[in-house]
């Protein structure tokens, strides 16, 4: 087996053992234990980290990922390879998390919607001068800079970031998790969530705006 060339690792390192995805999938279907072991090693931690953004607790996330792996095992023979193996595995994760989410009254959007999520802008309307006035739409109460994050306790800052993400509407949380935590490309997210690129960007923007707003009072330079 030739080394390298596999864009399966999320960090982009090319240290896979299989020449390409076809070879890996063939090995898996053929019961190659080393191939499945490699798959676990490559994806399990990333799946559990992602799953934590989909369900309420890390214990539930671990269960969801276990169920996902069983789904992968059962589904391998039927995998059509119309999407990448990674996307297919995450589709199973998303389906499993949705089923759990429904049971726990937390919904995971499949085709994420962008309407009616309460978004009111990066800043509240009253931070800007009213339309019709001179300089309408320009700052009335201008944004202030942030202190460098190094000046704050790292654990507290990261706790606030985590809380801010947790408080986002579901579809925004899923998109920002995949894009800005897991490092997925916009194309991969659109493929997984069946989103149009423009809607993916809207959700990402609202999510980033929501997290920014939550961090604002904490990181903003103090009043003089």
């Amino acid at each position: 087996m030739s080394a390298a060339v596999l864009d399966l690792r999320q960090d982009g390192r090319v240290d896979g053992t299989y020449a390409d995805e076809d070879e890996l999938v063939a090995a898996l279907r053929n019961g190659d234990e080393a191939a499945f072991s490699w798959l676990l090693l490559t994806y399990d931690a990333a799946l559990r980290r992602t799953a934590r953004n989909f369900v309420a607790t890390s214990a539930v996330a671990d269960e969801v990922v276990q169920e996902t792996w069983l789904g992968v095992i059962k589904g391998l023979d039927g995998f059509q390879q119309r999407s990448s193996l990674k996307t297919w595995i995450y589709q199973i994760l998303l389906n499993t998390a949705r089923t759990r989410g429904v049971r726990e009254r937390r919904t995971i959007p499949f085709s994420a919607t962008i309407d009616a999520d309460g978004y009111e802008g990066v800043f509240p309307e009253d931070r800007f001068r009213p339309d019709g006035e001179e300089w309408g739409g320009w700052w009335a109460n201008p944004a202030r800079p942030w202190e460098p994050a190094e000046r704050f306790d790292r654990a507290e800052t990261m706790g606030r970031v985590r809380d801010a993400i947790a408080s986002l509407p579901d579809s925004q949380r899923v998109v920002i998790s995949l894009r800005d935590i897991d490092g997925w490309t916009s194309e991969e997210v659109c493929d997984l969530l069946d989103l149009k690129p423009v809607n993916q960007r809207v959700l990402l923007h609202r999510a980033r705006a929501g997290v920014r707003a939550k961090l604002d009072p904490y990181l903003e330079v103090a009043d003089r």
Binding site: N30, R49, V122, V211
Partner: protein
């Protein structure tokens, strides 16, 4: 020359993700950059978006426990049961 006063701040801040994603056309990129040239508070907001993206990205380093040995064994067993090697 692009008029730096063409887009007001309220519109500017809603264009930031499209700007950072490279999704704006050349005209809008010029408008955004012209605005940045005259509006320090909007420069702060751009910096804050970048900072937010960086901080969110740090969650990627968050510790996830290694795969539980029992879970690993049971998954390997399940794999072996379903996918038998060709003889």
């Amino acid at each position: 020359m692009t008029d730096p006063y063409e887009i007001p701040c309220r519109i500017f801040v809603e264009m930031l993700t499209d700007y950072l994603e490279g999704a704006l056309d050349a005209t809008d990129v010029e408008r955004v950059e012209a605005h940045l040239g005259i509006c320090p508070p909007c420069v702060h907001v751009l910096d804050q978006f970048r900072e937010t993206i960086g901080l969110v990205g740090e969650l990627r380093e968050a510790d996830v426990d290694g795969l539980d040995a029992h879970v690993r064994t049971s998954l390997m067993d399940a794999f072996k049961q379903v996918h038998l090697p060709d003889r």
